[in-house]
Amino acid sequence: MKMVKKILVIDDEDLVVEVLRITLGMRNFQVITAGDGGEGIERAVREKPDLIILDIAMPGLDGYQVCQKLKENEITKAIPIIMLTALGQSGERKKGYSCGACDYIFKPFDEEELLNSVERALKCKRSPYLKKRRNANL
């Protein structure tokens, strides 16, 4: 039996969370949600999801900070993270990758695009970036 994958969606926009919940739910993913960065980290630590979809622009802790914290945490550091951004600037993409995200989705996203990205992210448990970073630290 195939395990049902658990995806954590962190976004302050309830409706965006709702869209993701329904869309992913329809594809047999278990979706859990968090309304801000702090809550997101908390749930990630507690629930240990297979994937985290993380919005960048949030009040309080922003997406980068959340990403960084998750990657610093032993429990959550191996969880792949997809960043969700409304900005779409190349610089931000770089910034996201540098703090450990493995993919990017731009708002507004296609269903197809989202699912492709999710599938890819689940396949690579550890982002190539992390390996690189580890090597650099050695």
Binding site: E13, L15, E18, V19, I22, R93, K107, E112
Partner: protein, 865 residues
């Protein structure tokens, strides 16, 4: 041959006639004798006689001129007379006489012309004979024919033989004639030379009689030619010269053969005496016998006058040149002296032009003056109020007495020159040794000469320049003049420089003070030279009162400005430093700090100029702009995400079944959101492009899978409009180096446009071709098309083609300008081919993987970076 000579015809005819005459004289009587005609008298005999005699007279006369042929001529004459006698004796009225006479001119002609012409003549003769024969009453065929042949043959042979003879003679004659012509030419020249000679020419025979006297001689003597010809030559010379032409002296001259430049005196008809110079030579014939003496006499009157004139002129020139030389010497010495003075004065004034320090100026003067004036002591007294500073320079040690003397001398000079009393005890004395001065021979004694020159600067008596010597009367007026000149130079140079510096300083000061930018200037020792009000305000330094440099530097240190200076000094070769500086105190301010090292013409560091520009507002605007962009992106995109998300969810029938209509309407919502999203992206991109902030993240891309991916995203949209995609890729396509997101944008824009303008059930063809350096991608639609004049406009920002249909269609008009920018940033090109009503084809190129953007920089288009 005959015709090769250019002899006159008359001459040739004379020769021809001579021989034809001989021939006639030979043939004619011979025939008569052979025919046994009895002697008798016939009328035509006279003509023969006349012809022969007249001819002989003429030809003999002609021939006698040439001695060479004399013998030949006589022989011919004798033979002629003999033949003519025979002819006279035998002449009778026989018919053959007629044709003999007739032949004469023909033979004459034949002698003058070529053998061919001779043959012609012979043929003619033969015809004549034939005619004569047939006109005869009785015809004896055989005999007559033999005669005829004999006659013609004889004519022919005789003609040729005589021709040869004539040729020979002509050649001789021609040679002779040429020689005689040459002689006559020489004669002619000689005559003319003699005639045109300006000198007298007298030919004297050995007896001392004059043979020939030329015109020049006759003119000078005043005689006519016949009066002197054959007269003794002594007649035309003075008494004392007559001996030359008599006795032993004359004999000696004849033996010697020539005489040269003998001075004689003419005695003219009027008794006038004219000095002449005689040059003569003795003419001898072939046997050496004296024929004559040719004497050339030159009138020496003009020459004598000329010589005496020349002598006089030479004397004068010599005198003049001597005096001139003297003058030049004097002047040269003077000029050299002046030049030297000027060079030294120039040197002094040049070096004092750079300094305002009076001590330095005096030092310069001391360094150079001794090259102009000899002195033992140079002293300068500088007046400062009632005190004075005396600097004494000398090449040797001075005793107290000398110093006191200079001091009191200068003190009293000061009193008399400026009317100011300086007590000797108020004068400070500095002694310097200067070895380059000369050493006066009498230096042990007292100072005997001195010279004081006042030095005024800005019309203020500043000091006295003093030189003195141990020699008596050591200084001349000139020395005083030089010293005065130098003092004047010092004064004027000093004033000019001061004025100039003052003016420049004021100019710069007022400029700096009024500048809106902050200006900080420091000198080479980091002392603050300028700190304008703007800078004070920016850095929060009180504009009231003076603050010390130390305080300023401490302040700078607090503001991290000191660090900038540090860097400027530490980085050699980098004289300008630009940095942004954010200050929190006294109020938050952003500054652009531009510091540059100031160097003089020698490259020495003179200080630092720092310009501060307040860029707070610019930064604020910049930040506001980014904030706005973020706001727009975020605030617009988030609701879009929600709308799109739910539309998709509903479309996926997660919340219940939908009718076909509902589905269609929902898909419109989804599409519109996509379009809206693209518009937002485009707006952001344009602002990024304008700010030069668009950066590419290039990767290697497989163009085929890339295109397919983009087309997949249009699948639904296209399906909705009934549009079909057709792709055509080259079998082998290189990978390209491009930013995948940006390239997606370009292709999306093109495909989106193609769908938009294709109308229902259109077809879109996407091609990818391998080019030389790049891969070429084209998107062709079957839409409304674009007119040629709009080809460029559609790539310009906010331009939309104003064609009827198109203007109704939606779009920001930014897609193509952005695509163009992106393609050019990649180093590619984009263009359109289109025809109204038939569709458009947009093509762009993307360089292959191994190519960089740089290669395109020299191309026609400037792609920008």
């Amino acid at each position: 041959m005959v015709e090769k000579t250019d002899q006159p015809d008359v001459f040739l005819l004379s020769i021809a006639y001579k021989y034809t005459g001989l021939l006639a004289g030979l043939v004619w009587p011979l025939i008569l004798i052979l025919k046994e005609i009895p002697p008798g008298r016939f009328p035509h005999t006279f003509s023969v006689i006349f012809f022969t005699v007249i001819y002989n007279i003429i030809s003999t006369k002609m021939m006698l001129k040439g001695k060479l042929l004399k013998l030949n001529k006589i022989l011919a004459g004798v033979l002629n007379i003999f033949f003519v006698s025979l002819l006279v004796y035998y002449t009778g009225g026989y018919k053959s006489n007629l044709w003999v006479m007739f032949l004469l001119p023909l033979i004459t002609i034949s002698l003058l012309y070529t053998p061919r012409q001779v043959i012609l003549a012979a043929s003619f003769v033969a015809i004549v004979f034939c005619f004569l024969y047939f006109s005869q009453a009785e015809k004896i065929w055989f005999e007559d024919l033999a005669w005829l042949l004999l006659k013609v043959g004889m004519f022919f042979v005789i003609s040729l033989v005589f021709r040869k003879i004539v040729d020979l003679e002509i050649r001789h004659r021609v040679a002779f004639q040429e020689k005689s012509r040459e002689l006559s030419k020489t004669q002619y020249y000689t005559d003319n030379i003699v005639k045109s000679m300006l000198d007298s020419l007298i030919v004297v025979n050995p007896d001392g009689k004059m043979e020939k006297i030329n015109k020049a001689a006759l003119d000078i003597l005043g005689y006519k030619e016949k009066e002197l010809t054959k007269k003794p030559v002594t007649e035309i010379f003075s008494q004392k010269d007559a001996t030359l032409f008599q006795g032993s002296q004359w004999e000696e001259l004849l033996n010697k053969g020539f005489i040269k430049d003998l001075e004689l005196t003419y005695l003219t008809r009027k008794g006038e005496k004219i000095p002449v110079s005689l040059t003569g030579s003795v003419m001898r014939d072939e046997e050496g016998k004296t024929e004559a003496v040719v004497a050339v006499l030159r009138d020496m009157r003009a020459m004598k006058a000329l010589i005496s004139g020349l002598e006089k002129a030479e004397r004068e020139v010599r005198q003049y040149s001597e005096s001139l030389e003297r003058k030049v010497d004097e002047r040269t010495k003077e000029i050299i002296k002046h030049a030297h003075e000027f060079s030294v004065i120039y040197e002094i004034s040049k070096s004092i032009s750079y300094t305002l320090d009076i001590h330095q100026i005096l030092e310069t003067i001391m360094g150079s003056l001794h090259r102009l004036i000899d002195y033992d002591i140079f002293a300068s007294l500088l007046l400062e109020g009632s005190e004075g500073e005396l600097i004494i320079e000398s090449s040797h040690s001075l005793d107290e007495r000398d110093i006191q003397m200079v001091k009191s001398n200068l003190a009293s000079a000061g009193a008399s020159l400026f009317g100011r009393t300086v007590r000797p005890e108020d004068i400070r004395v500095t002694l310097k040794r200067e070895r380059s001065f000369r050493l006066s021979q009498e230096f042990k004694g007292q100072l005997k000469s001195f010279l004081n020159i006042p030095l005024s600067i800005d019309n203020v008596p500043t000091g006295i320049i003093h030189i003195s010597s141990f020699s008596r009367s050591a200084f001349s007026e000139d020395d005083a003049r030089i010293l005065h000149t130098i003092a004047d130079q010092v004064a004027s140079a000093h004033k000019k420089l001061k004025d100039l510096i003052f003016k420049e300083k004021r100019k710069i000061e007022s400029m700096v003070e009024s500048m809106a930018e902050g200006v900080i200037m420091t000198d080479e020792n980091d002392n603050l030279i300028a700190l304008n009000p703007a800078a004070r305000k920016m850095l929060g330094i009180s504009s009231e009162g003076v603050i010390s440099d130390r305080e300023i530097w401490i302040h700078f240190g607090k503001l991290k400005l000191g660090r900038l200076y540090q860097r400027l000094y530490e980085q050699p070769g980098d004289d300008v430093f630009i940095e942004d500086l954010d200050l929190d105190e006294p109020k938050p301010i952003s500054l652009k700090v531009i510091s540059s090292l100031v160097r003089n013409h020698l490259g020495e560091r003179l200080g630092v100029v720092t310009v501060l520009r307040d860029i707070t507002k610019e930064k604020e605007v910049d930040r506001m702009k980014s904030d706005f962009i973020s706001f727009v992106s975020h605030e617009l995109r988030t609701p879009l995400t929600i709308v799109k998300g739910f539309a998709t969810i509903i479309l996926g029938e997660a919340s219940g079944k939908l009718t076909r209509e509902q589905k269609e309407q929902l898909s419109y919502i989804s599409e519109s959101i996509d379009r809206l999203s693209r518009i937002i992206s485009n707006l952001l991109d344009i602002s990024k492009i304008e700010a030069g902030k668009l950066r590419l993240q290039k990767r290697n891309i497989d163009i085929v899978s890339f295109i397919n991916k983009v087309l997949r995203s249009f699948r639904l949209y296209a399906k909705g409009k009934g549009i079909k995609f057709e792709t055509c890729f080259d079998s082998k396509l290189s990978r390209v180096l491009a930013d995948p997101d940006r390239l997606t944008q370009v292709l999306t824009n093109l495909v989106d446009n193609a769908i938009k303008f294709s109308g229902k059930n259109g077809q879109i063809r996407i091609e990818a071709k391998e080019g030389k350096d790049a891969v070429e991608v084209s998107v062709a639609d079957s839409g409304i098309g674009i007119s040629a004049e709009n080809f460029n406009r559609i790539f310009n920002k906010f331009q939309k083609v104003e064609s009827g249909i198109r203007s109704k269609l939606k779009g920001t008009g930014l897609g193509l300008p952005i695509s163009k920018e992106i393609v050019q940033l990649h180093g590619g090109k984009i263009w359109v081919e289109s025809e109204i009503g038939k569709g458009s084809k947009f093509t762009f190129t993307i360089p292959k993987q191994w190519r960089g953007v740089t290669r395109y920089e020299n191309g026609k288009e400037n792609f920008g970076h």
